[in-house]
């Protein structure tokens, strides 16, 4: 499907200019750190107007501003416009305008030539019945991947892991539309489970990409875990501590998976305490949209802000179920502990399941 040009979003852009409500701005994690209106969605959309009217042109400066967007979608949840599509479209304008961000271009090249974003350290093989798409990030984390696979298998979910290439989210998200088409072709040639009735995933970002850009019948594995736990009795030992759950943007806000992780936590005997911004209005960990590649300092500051939300609750840990959120929040937690001498641990929901499941 051909991507829309920025001009195709003119109605949304002018509607935003008419509305000016600012609902997007006040919770934008990037705006909170960067302070210029330009970093909020409302501000970016005004810049987008400049682009479509010709009063502004693509530039490295504009590309850098657009790079500082997590594509977390909080603005969109507070709105009714296609904010993420608009920002992505503006990023495409930067690429077409000959000012792409070098590190993003390098990542795109790598995906095109090697089929992956990161160096894989895990090459799992499983020949079960249920196709499982692992994704680039989990392939760099053998221990975490092994934990997730162990949990699935103990719950009678037997994965089938086939050859796979990168879903290409970061290619599309950073504005490389033409290259994304090539990545999609590459994916379809490699992944042999395209006709499966259901494909499980581990990474929320891969899940939303495979669902929306490839039209595949995907389901995040944590949903299936929740279903399995419902059917089984006495298979966990209660963990008994207080925790808060961070909703990953792609899993929660975009895919609507909120309750299953929470049900699991309660099933594990964890006392769940909610952060003020949760579910649809959860604030990003700081790891999204390619921001960490261009400004790791910003990513950390955003993570710290999210960690502070959790520290306010007096809980022992933050848990989440995203391979990007976990390390990002953990980095943030480490930095916050340097400042206020309070360390809050960040643990994956897979780890907690692994601890709790009785063999």
């Amino acid at each position: 499907m051909k991507e829309k040009s920025l001009k195709d979003y003119a109605e949304d852009i002018y509607t935003c200019n008419r509305s000016r409500c600012g609902f997007c701005r006040e919770q934008c994690p990037v705006y909170h750190v960067m302070a210029y209106e330009t970093y909020s969605c409302r501000g970016k959309i005004l810049v987008g107007r400049g682009l479509i009217e010709g009063t502004l042109s693509p530039s490295r400066e504009m590309a850098q501003i657009l790079d500082h967007c997590l594509l977390c979608g909080l603005c969109q949840a507070r709105c009714a416009l296609h904010n993420l599509d608009i920002v992505t479209s503006m990023r495409r304008e930067m690429v077409l305008g000959g000012v792409p961000t070098p590190v993003h271009r390098e990542n795109v090249q790598r995906i095109l030539t090697e089929g992956r974003l990161l160096d894989a350290r895990a090459a799992p093989e499983r020949e079960g019945q249920t196709p499982l798409y692992v994704g680039c990030v989990y392939r760099t984390k053998p221990r975490e991947l092994a934990t997730a696979l162990s949990v699935l298998e103990r719950l009678d979910i037997h994965p089938l892991i086939a050859d796979e290439t990168c879903c290409g989210y970061i290619v599309e998200a950073t504005g490389f539309a033409k290259e994304f088409e090539a990545v999609q072709e590459q994916f379809k040639k490699t992944y042999q489970q395209l006709n499966a009735p259901e494909i499980l995933t581990l990474c929320p970002t891969c899940t939303i990409t495979l669902k929306e850009k490839y039209g595949l019948p995907v389901k995040h594995a944590i949903v299936v875990v929740a279903e399995q736990l419902h059917k089984k009795q006495g298979i966990v030992k209660p963990l008994g501590f207080r925790a808060t759950y961070h909703d990953p943007c792609h899993l929660g806000r975009m895919l609507g998976v909120f309750e299953e992780p929470r049900e699991i936590l309660r099933y594990l005997g964890i006392q769940l305490v909610e952060m003020e911004n949760n579910r649809y209005f959860s604030t990003c960990c700081g790891g999204g949209g390619g921001v960490n590649a261009v400004d790791p300092g910003l990513s950390i500051e955003i993570a710290k802000n999210r960690v502070r939300d959790a520290i306010r609750l007096g809980v022992e840990i933050i848990t989440t179920v995203c391979p990007t959120c976990e390390p990002t929040l953990l980095r943030g937690a480490g930095r916050v502990s340097n400042e206020i001498d309070t360390f809050i641990d960040v643990r994956s929901l897979w780890e907690l399941l692994d601890d709790a499941l009785v063999d």
């Binding site: 109605e11 949304d12 002018y14 509607t15 935003c16 200019n17 008419r18 509305s19 000016r20 409500c21 600012g22 609902f23 701005r25 006040e26 302070a35 210029y36 209106e37 330009t38 909020s40 409302r42 501000g43 970016k44 005004l46 810049v47 107007r49 400049g50 009217e53 009063t55 502004l56 530039s59 400066e61 504009m62 501003i65 969109q76 949840a77 507070r78 709105c79 009714a80 416009l81 806000r253 003020e276 649809y280 209005f281």
Partner: protein, 489 residues
């Protein structure tokens, strides 16, 4: 020295003060080129420089630079003002005030909060709620609106009927004047004072034309135990005011009171329509709907609700809205600002045309007359009716701060100018009916100069006051005294 060189020189000096919190970038300046006032597409008011101060001292130093070079200074807060007050009409230095966003003190013993003026009302109340307290000044724009903007614009407040508007909560404030002097005005933590002149009052509705407000001390109150909201369908518009007067007169404690005409109800029930997939149903005989909120201890609230309902039915032949979901949907739009994710009201309602309003104040006996004139004047200037809301914003008495709203066609210059002709004629009507031409938007770039119709020779004294605070006219120049839209005859 030409203007470009002056700007560059000023920028160089500001860089020494602010480092990366100052920019000349056209991209950043574009993001600050609009507020919520109706304007046609080609109209962008780009400032020359954007600065982000973090405290009063930085604001003093910024103002000194502006003063030295005689460059305009335009404070910008939420960017949701409807009057053009925050746009850089004459270019200059736009001050992003939201860098001044700290809470300096919460004094529970004296029930005050001292804040930097760039904090939003919602963030402040989020923090105050941890102490079971709140600031009851609550405009619909509270997510974006700051304390400084509330003071500068004197905007509306949902709970004005009990708590008044911002001046009723404001104890003192720090303003950096156009002379680059920071002064604290007001009465410290006391509620009022009879000594000196009331400089604090001058700041309210000053729209950044006297200086930049950097701090404020506010009277805060305990969070109520419960709140109930009710709606009453009334036969006549005047019944809403008379009914309210009666309810207050008999001793009831009512927290808020708003009256909508039928058209306006549609605008406020977006969340109801999204949730339930149907339009609100009203009897054919109903001209207006009165919404009341009651808060306090549970038994007191229950008594108030019951008594108010009986009076409205028995004495005003009103009918309570039986479908509480409708009332809650209205309240979602008015106060809670809770919408189904991805279906928020504001962008949904303005895809084709823009919200615009004449924000008049009328004596409570002239409401129906005002309403009928609104319909005529809107028709005369081809304005599509959005509807009327009456806000009651003065403690314990029925008053009428009215939004006479229309959908503005902003597709052409001529269409937007027609809107402002509508505003002009509505303003003239307000004066004719012994009212005021603005109660919550302010003069901005629309009523300045034309407001002589309301103030007469008083406007001359206002200009003199302006010169005392801002001798070089750098503070948001032209606002309040000139209009881009309405010629003063």
């Amino acid at each position: 020295m030409n203007q470009k060189k002056i700007t560059e020189k000023a920028y160089g000096q500001l860089r020494k003060i602010l480092r990366d919190r100052v920019t000349l970038s056209a991209i950043h300046r574009m993001a600050y080129s609009r507020d919520w006032s109706p304007r046609y597409r080609e109209m962008n008011d780009l400032p020359d420089i954007v600065v982000i101060p973090r405290d009063t001292q930085e604001m003093v130093r910024i103002t000194k630079v502006a003063y030295r070079h005689e460059i305009p200074l335009v404070p910008f807060a939420g960017g949701t003002g409807m009057g053009g007050g925050a746009v850089a009409w004459k270019g200059g230095i736009l001050v992003e005030t939201k860098g001044l966003n700290g809470i300096l003190e919460i004094d529970e013993e004296n029930m005050t909060a001292t804040v930097q003026a760039g904090i939003t009302i919602e963030v402040l109340n989020s923090e105050l709620a941890r102490h079971r307290l709140w600031l009851p000044h609550q405009p619909e724009s509270k997510r974006a609106c700051t304390i400084g903007a509330s003071i500068g614009c004197d905007n509306d407040s949902t709970f004005g009927l009990r708590y008044g508007k911002i001046l009723d909560c404001l104890l003192n404030a720090v303003i950096v004047t156009g002379r680059a002097e920071a002064i604290r005005v007001g009465q410290r933590k006391a509620s009022f004072s009879s000594t000196g002149y009331k400089l604090l009052d001058l700041l309210v509705a000053s729209e950044g034309t006297l200086g930049t407000i950097t701090e404020a001390t506010l009277r805060i109150v305990p969070l109520p135990e419960v709140r109930e909201v009710r709606g009453y369908v009334c036969r006549r518009l005047n019944d809403t005011a008379r009914g309210l007067e009666r309810l207050l007169g008999c001793g009831l404690a009512i927290e808020s009171a708003h009256a909508n005409c039928r058209n306006r109800l549609h605008f406020y029930t977006h969340s109801y329509r999204e949730k339930y997939g149907r339009e609100p149903q009203l009897p054919e005989w109903a001209d207006a709907i009165l919404f009341l909120s009651f808060s306090g201890d549970r038994d007191i609230v229950a008594f108030n609700v019951d008594k108010a309902t009986r009076i409205m039915i028995d004495e005003f032949k009103a009918e309570p809205i039986g479908e509480q979901e409708l009332v809650e949907g209205w309240w979602d739009s008015k106060h809670r600002l809770e919408f189904i994710p991805f279906k928020q009201k504001w962008p949904v309602s303005q895809r084709q045309k823009k919200f615009g309003a004449a924000d008049l104040g009328l004596p409570i006996g002239r409401l129906e007359e005002g309403y009928h004139r609104y319909l005529e004047i809107a028709k005369k200037w081809d304005q599509e009716i959005l509807g009327m809301t009456i806000y009651n914003e003065s403690p314990n008495k029925a008053t009428a701060s009215i939004s006479f709203a229309v959908f503005v066609d902003d597709s052409s210059q001529e269409a937007v100018r027609k809107f402002y002709r509508y505003v002009r004629e509505m303003s003239e009507m307000a004066i004719e009916l012994d009212g005021t031409m603005s109660t919550y938007i302010g003069d901005g770039d629309r009523l300045g100069g034309f407001n002589r119709l309301e103030h007469g020779p008083g406007l001359t004294y206002m200009r003199r006051i302006k010169r005392i605070f801002d001798p070089k006219n750098i503070m948001n120049p032209r606002k309040k005294f000139q209009s881009r839209w309405i010629d003063s005859d």
